[in-house]
Amino acid sequence: MKSEKFSIKKSIKPFKDKKGTLITILQHVQKEYGYLSKETISTIADELSKSENEIYGVATFYSQFKFNKPGKHQVKVCLGTACHVRGGHELMETVERQLVIKHGEKTKDSQFSLERVACMGCCALAPVMVVDKEIYGKTTSTKVKQILNKYKNNGGR
């Protein structure tokens, strides 16, 4: 815990006593840890002399912030307009079935977490799914298993 606090303190320092920097701080912290834990929020609050409830209130307003530790691999399925038209919902259902979780959840072995997003900016490839930073365009339900297996087999990657 000690090293964590130290790093948050360091990353907050340039923003301290400036107005309107909370989002940036939260983004920095999330980048570091992958999510905002109870401890990190309470540390940020202490550093900024705010209450953790206020920080949490701001953070939960934005969908970009996560409050649970994400899985090793983050699966995102696009449900934006183009993907919706090209069967994004079916793709989502297939992924959910394959991973045995609903979107917004994490598999029991913490290997995968699943999220829905609204547009990745590559609508020509619809329907799109993203695993970690890799984009899989024109994904059909049959390809899902193959894609996920790549990560399952290569869990340590």
């Binding site: 929020i41 209450s51 409830n53 949490y56």
Partner: protein, 772 residues
């Protein structure tokens, strides 16, 4: 001039349209505004038309400008408002609001309802004062066209004092704003967004883990039944509401005490008080459970054959009078409770001095209030507004001695927070190592002797940077300057010199105040510390900046009335023969010349009889032969009592009390006393008459107050009393030396013999969590 609905109306610069309209008696519906909160514009019900402005501006955050032409009510506006309200009600259980028979329903279905989950009118704890319904009635909303969506959130009932049912919440944000902007706690915040928006804490933790002070401010501003005090939500309409004062601490917050079935049911804060309706958990929630106990003392008791036997009042008084006659003056001691009214305290000290013939009367907190008042009187600052709570808000710096004021969150905290928002620096001096409250800028972990060194350091630094700061017109100018010049800076002062320099620059010539807790100056020579504190305040030209945070509701009054060993009523000295003779003339009796003993010294030698109106540690009672206890509850030390006399509690008595501001306020009887209990002053008067004393024939408390006004020159009626009119006097510095710290480790929250932690479960839970 502005025009509202065709009428010319004057306005004040800076006011909002809503405020101006309400002042002129024009109603505009609104659910999110609250006079002490900044406008928010959340509910969209206060929409108006203003000529020249586009659309429908919200009147709560539109400033009035000269020549505005405003329409607050027409068909179009009402239609929009109805639509807005409909949308609000599509998420708020609404049968109670739109039902046509609701008025008849109320009449037929009286009495308490105890459903946990609120789905309709009969089960809402807020039905008597529902603001949503008021607005619906005004708009004539009779039907809902939108489908209803019940949020189905879990009820939150695991915290002390109040329940939360956010299914009833309309997201007006009053609770969030009062918690963040007024109280400065930040326990409540809006979390999530859109449909899932909810008022709550981080990660939906319990309030007790989220820095909540349980002040109840959120409950008081909630326009719906979402937040409700658990202890008082089910009893329905109160039989009576009496405006009085809470005396569980010395701030003197005004409350309206609701009673039903001859019991206190709730205490509702009133705006009129010194803290403008901001109170603490003790006053807001603890009073009913504290005073309604079934074991209240109802009958006098006398020890016969080793057992306390209930007897009649007559027998008890006769027995006590006979026994007390057997002791000599110096063998008797009297302890005045810090919760007695001024009248009772006055009568008690008169009884002690005139009848028992001793000056051995003291209060358990005289170690704090004694030195404080002595210093204030000697420094001639009692003529200013010293101690006034308003001073806190306008300060640029606040030194808080002792952290007890933050836990439990006291009614002074909003004032401190307001100062902080205006840019004040808050400095805490407290040796404790636990987490520093968020509001604190600088925490100095100093013990009592170091605190004295610290203040001396500041005085020295103030003087050396600018000797003309010590004005020649101040009393004891020469001696003071000489003592400062000769001051040896202690080792501590040297190590802290940077901090001292920094703070003395801040303190120098800017407005500020020092708030002290009894524990923080509880040491072997509290006078020294108090003198240093007053010196600092006078030098920084804040002679009115000292705020003593007394424990008891009437510590100040006890001291003023002379129910304290060091002086006679009105601070006249016991060694001054003239003042004694004056009293002898007025009371028509001979008075003792010998000085009385302080509480801390009282039990050392020949004390044989003790008259207690408070409770004291059992081990002090070692050699007492005759013990009289006058209290409201039975407690441990009654094992040793020879006579027990049942007194009335503060909600059952009339009289006056004096708050820490030296504000004399009336307390009124809000509820019938338990049968058999009597007012303290009546008991003492009975006793005095039994002992053949004259001058104890008061019929009511007003007669006593009249006599007080004659004897204590500066008390003339209700309000803040002032005394003297001279320039402030400084205190020459003394050698610092080692001071013994007598700080008690555990704060005690008591009302006479009743321990709040023991009697009020929720208070125990609150304090158990520690609070941050």
């Amino acid at each position: 001039m502005i025009t509202i609905n065709g009428k010319k109306i004057p306005f004040k610069e800076g006011e909002t349209v809503l405020e101006t309209a309400l002042e002129a008696g024009i109603y505009i519906p609104s659910l999110c505004t609250q006079s002490e909160l900044e406008s928010f514009g959340a509910c969209r019900l206060c929409l108006v038309k203003i000529e020249g402005m586009r659309g429908f501006p919200t009147s709560c955050n539109t400033e009035v400008k000269d020549g505005m032409v405003i329409t607050t009510e027409d068909d179009e506006l009402q239609k929009i408002r109805r639509n807005v309200l409909e949308m609000l009600l599509s998420e708020h259980p609404n049968t109670c609001i739109i039902c046509k028979d609701k008025d008849i329903c109320e009449e037929c279905h009286f009495g308490p309802t105890k459903a946990g989950r609120v789905t309709g009118c009969r089960f809402c704890p807020n039905k008597e004062i529902c603001e949503v319904r008021e607005v619906a009635d005004y708009l004539g909303l009779e039907d809902l066209k939108l489908p209803f969506e019940y949020k189905n959130l879990p009820l939150e009932r695991d915290d002390p004092f109040f329940d939360r049912d956010y299914n009833l919440c309309i997201l007006c944000g009053r609770c969030v704003r009062v918690c963040q902007d007024i109280r400065g706690r930040g326990t409540l915040a809006f979390t999530q967004r859109s449909f899932r928006t909810k008022v709550g804490t981080a990660f939906d933790k319990l309030h007790i883990d989220s820095n909540c002070g349980f002040c109840g401010a959120c409950v008081d501003v909630c326009p719906t039944g979402a937040l409700s005090a658990r202890g008082s939500k089910w009893h329905g309409d109160a039989d009576s509401c009496i405006d009085s004062i809470c005396i569980l601490c010395s701030i003197g917050c005004n409350f309206s005490f609701e009673s039903k079935w001859d019991r206190i049911m709730a205490a509702i804060p009133k705006r009129e008080g010194p803290t403008k309706g901001q109170v603490c958990s003790r006053g807001r929630f603890c009073v009913p459970q504290l005073l309604n106990g079934t074991d209240r003392l109802k009958q006098p008791m006398i020890r016969k054959n080793g057992k306390l036997i209930p007897v009649s009042w007559d027998e008890a008084i006769t027995h006590t009078a006979d026994k007390l006659k057997d002791f000599k003056g110096e063998e008797i001691g009297v302890i005045a409770s810090k919760f007695l009214t001024n009248e009772s305290a006055y009568v008690l000290q008169k009884f002690t001095r005139a009848v028992l013939n001793t000056n051995n009367i003291d209060s358990t907190t005289s170690d704090f209030v004694g030195p404080v008042m002595k210093t204030i009187m000697e420094s001639k600052t009692a003529n200013s507004n010293i101690g006034k709570i308003e001073n806190i808000e306008n300060s640029r710096w606040i030194i808080v001695l002792g952290r007890r004021i933050f836990n439990p969150s006291s009614a002074l905290n909003p004032s401190i927070y307001r100062a902080k928002k205006k840019g004040a620096k808050i400095i805490l001096i407290d040796p404790g190592k636990s987490k520093t409250p968020r509001i604190i800028d600088v925490h100095l972990e100093l013990g009592v002797s170091q605190t004295l060194d610290f203040f001396y350091g500041i005085i020295h630094s103030l003087y050396s940077s600018n000797p003309s700061i010590v004005k020649k017109s101040y009393g004891k100018y020469g001696a003071f300057v000489k003592s400062v010049k000769n001051l040896e800076i202690s080792k501590f002062g040297k190590t802290y010199s940077n901090k001292i320099k920094e703070l003395s620059q801040l303190i120098n010539s800017s407005k500020g105040c020092i708030i002290a807790d009894p524990d923080a100056i509880h040491c072997s020579s509290p006078e020294k510390l108090m003198n240093a504190i007053l010196n600092v305040l006078i030098l920084s030209e804040n002679p009115d900046g000292f705020v003593p945070y007394y424990e008891g509701g009437n510590d100040q009054g006890i001291c003023d009335m002379g129910a304290i060993s060091q002086h006679l009523p009105g601070y006249s000295s016991i060694s001054n023969l003239e003042s004694i003779k004056k009293l002898e003339r007025l009371w028509g009796t001979k008075l003792p010349r010998e000085k009385g003993k302080r509480y801390s010294e009282m039990f050392k030698d020949k004390l044989k009889a003790l008259y207690l109106t408070d409770t004291i540690p059992e081990e002090k009672l070692g050699k007492i032969e005759f013990l009289v206890i006058q209290d409201i509850y039975p407690n441990k030390i009654m094992n040793k009592a020879d006579v027990v006399l049942p007194a009335r509690a503060f909600t059952e008595d009339d009289g006056t009390v004096t708050s820490l501001e030296r504000r004399v306020q009336k307390i009124k009887q809000a509820v019938k006393e338990p049968e058999g209990a009597r007012s303290d002053w009546k008991i003492i008067c009975n006793l005095a008459r039994k002992m053949d004393a004259k001058g104890f024939d008061y019929k009511n408390f007003q007669q006593i107050f009249k006599e007080i006004k004659e004897i204590v020159p500066f008390i003339s009626g209700m309000g803040i009393w002032k005394f003297g009119s001279k320039q402030p006097t400084l205190f020459p510095l003394m050698k610092t030396g080692e001071m013994k710290d007598l700080t008690s480790s555990k704060p005690l929250f008591r009302y006479r013999g009743a321990d709040l932690m023991e009697r009020v479960d929720d208070f125990r839970i609150q304090m158990g969590a520690g609070g941050k």
